[in-house]
């Protein structure tokens, strides 16, 4: 009984160590494909939230852009995802056979009087693999 529990605990700890390592390594790792990325938001005259992002790669990529844009609202002391925008709905957030891509979209917030921001997941892929990162804009009051 005790031996079995010990085995289970050791196995769990080993799995946790393996899973935790990439989480720490992710921010430390440089990218072989991505040079830079940026994201920013603003409130438009139409009361929409405007989201702009850019990603610059070191060479021409097969695919480059944003895999998703998460619109977050600051509510109850934490950021709540309000909407996730993907390339299925907005193909213009991705491009092919270029080394740099940027675009902006506008989003109508569900609420007014709240802070909003955008978390943009960008990526660049070629025949040898894919590099990805996430960039968060500063917030803006809508």
């Amino acid at each position: 009984m005790c031996k079995n529990i010990t085995k289970v605990v050791i196995l769990l700890l080993a799995v946790l160590m393996i899973v935790s390592t990439p989480a720490f390594a992710m921010d430390m790792r440089a990218s072989s494909r991505i040079i830079s990325s940026s994201a920013r938001v603003r409130s438009g005259d139409d009361s929409n939230l405007w989201v702009y992002f850019s990603i610059t790669a070191s060479s021409t990529m097969d695919n480059i852009g944003a895999s998703k844009i998460v619109i977050q609202r600051y509510s109850d002391s934490h950021w709540v995802p309000e909407c996730v925008l993907t390339s299925e709905d907005f193909p213009e957030i991705q491009a092919s056979d270029v080394s740099r891509h940027s675009t902006s979209i506008s989003y109508k917030p569900m609420y007014s009087g709240y802070k909003y921001r955008a978390v943009v997941s960008v990526y660049a892929s070629d025949s040898s693999g894919i590099s990805s990162t996430s960039v968060t804009s500063r917030h803006i009051m809508m």
Binding site: L12, I35, Y52, S59
Partner: protein
């Protein structure tokens, strides 16, 4: 009991008069009379005149008059008890063993589950401490939607979804012949197009991202190329704070100063970057060239001043 009757009815050895007459006389007596008579006999009987057949005759007569209910033996009584109780509560002989085994099994599962929960919570705390918003992502809800993960829907109100507009096309004139032309158009005097690039690099295009009627976003990107690898010169309007994230290795950042401005040289895996800022703009030059080459390019941009 039946054997006892047979014995009493068989051969009374010491009774006054004939056995059959005495038996008939006893049978004629009531139960109380027989009980009283037996008590009198027992009180008066001594060791000398003890007559067991007389006592047996009284007992037999009492048994005939008021028989004692049949009493089973202990084994049959126990069996009868089990049979009756099993009709109410089915009893299995192996139940105690199974019950103990189940208790042990449930205890083991509970212990393992507790260990798993503790480990998971510990890892979540570590991840949270490392900067990942684990607890914030466990459960979220709005007025219309609940999710244990991230909410990926705003509910049924599709009208509030999204209207898309690209970067204002008016920002991008199709044919900028030089970076300086774009800088001049946007009245950017803090920086001039570099006059020196490695020989093989030539201007490919100049693109401008901006928001319509708004100076909040002005991003000018001039791309130079040697035919295979691009080299970017980027100017971004940033009146308040930086927006860009530059990828880099953990190699030490080098700096040099030009025109009183500190320029940072960053090293990435397959490219390097130079970065600096003025009051309203950020400047980046990035490409697959050595850092010394980047420094030369920057210096050429400020050579006139």
């Amino acid at each position: 009991m039946k054997n006892k009757m047979s014995k009493q009815c068989g051969n009374p050895s010491n009774h006054p008069g004939g056995g059959d007459v005495f038996t008939i006389m006893l049978d004629a007596m009531s139960v109380e009379e027989l009980t009283d008579g037996l008590n009198v006999i027992l009180e008066n009987m001594t060791e000398e005149n003890y007559d067991s057949s007389l006592i047996d005759a009284y007992l037999a007569a009492l048994d005939r008059k008021d028989p004692i209910p049949q009493i089973s033996d202990s084994k049959s009584s126990l069996s009868d008890f089990y049979q009756k109780t099993s009709q109410i509560l089915p009893v299995h002989k192996e139940r105690p063993a199974i019950f103990c085994h189940r208790l042990w099994y449930i205890g083991s599962i509970g212990l393992i589950a507790s260990v798993v929960v503790i480990c998971l919570m510990s890892s979540m705390v570590v991840a949270q401490a490392a900067g990942l918003d684990v607890f914030g992502a466990l459960a979220h809800w709005t007025d219309k939607v609940f999710s244990l993960g991230t909410i990926q829907s705003i509910g049924a109100d599709d009208e509030k979804m999204v209207a898309t507009e690209g970067v204002n096309p008016e920002c991008n004139k199709p044919n900028y012949t030089s970076l300086q032309e774009a800088l001049d158009e946007y009245n950017i005097a803090e920086f001039s197009e570099p006059t020196w690039f490695p020989e093989e690099y030539t201007l490919e295009d100049v693109k401008i991202d901006c928001w319509p009627n708004d100076g909040a976003l002005i991003s000018i990107v001039a791309t130079y190329s040697d035919g295979t690898k691009p080299l970017y010169v980027t100017i971004e309007h940033s009146p308040d704070e930086s927006y860009a994230q530059m990828e880099k290795t953990d190699a030490p950042i080098e700096t040099f100063v030009v025109n009183g401005i500190t320029v940072y040289l960053l090293e990435n895996i397959s490219n390097n970057s130079a970065a600096w800022a003025t009051e309203n703009y950020e400047f980046y030059i990035s490409g697959s060239v050595e850092k010394q080459v980047l420094e030369q390019i920057v210096l050429s941009a400020y050579a006139h001043s």
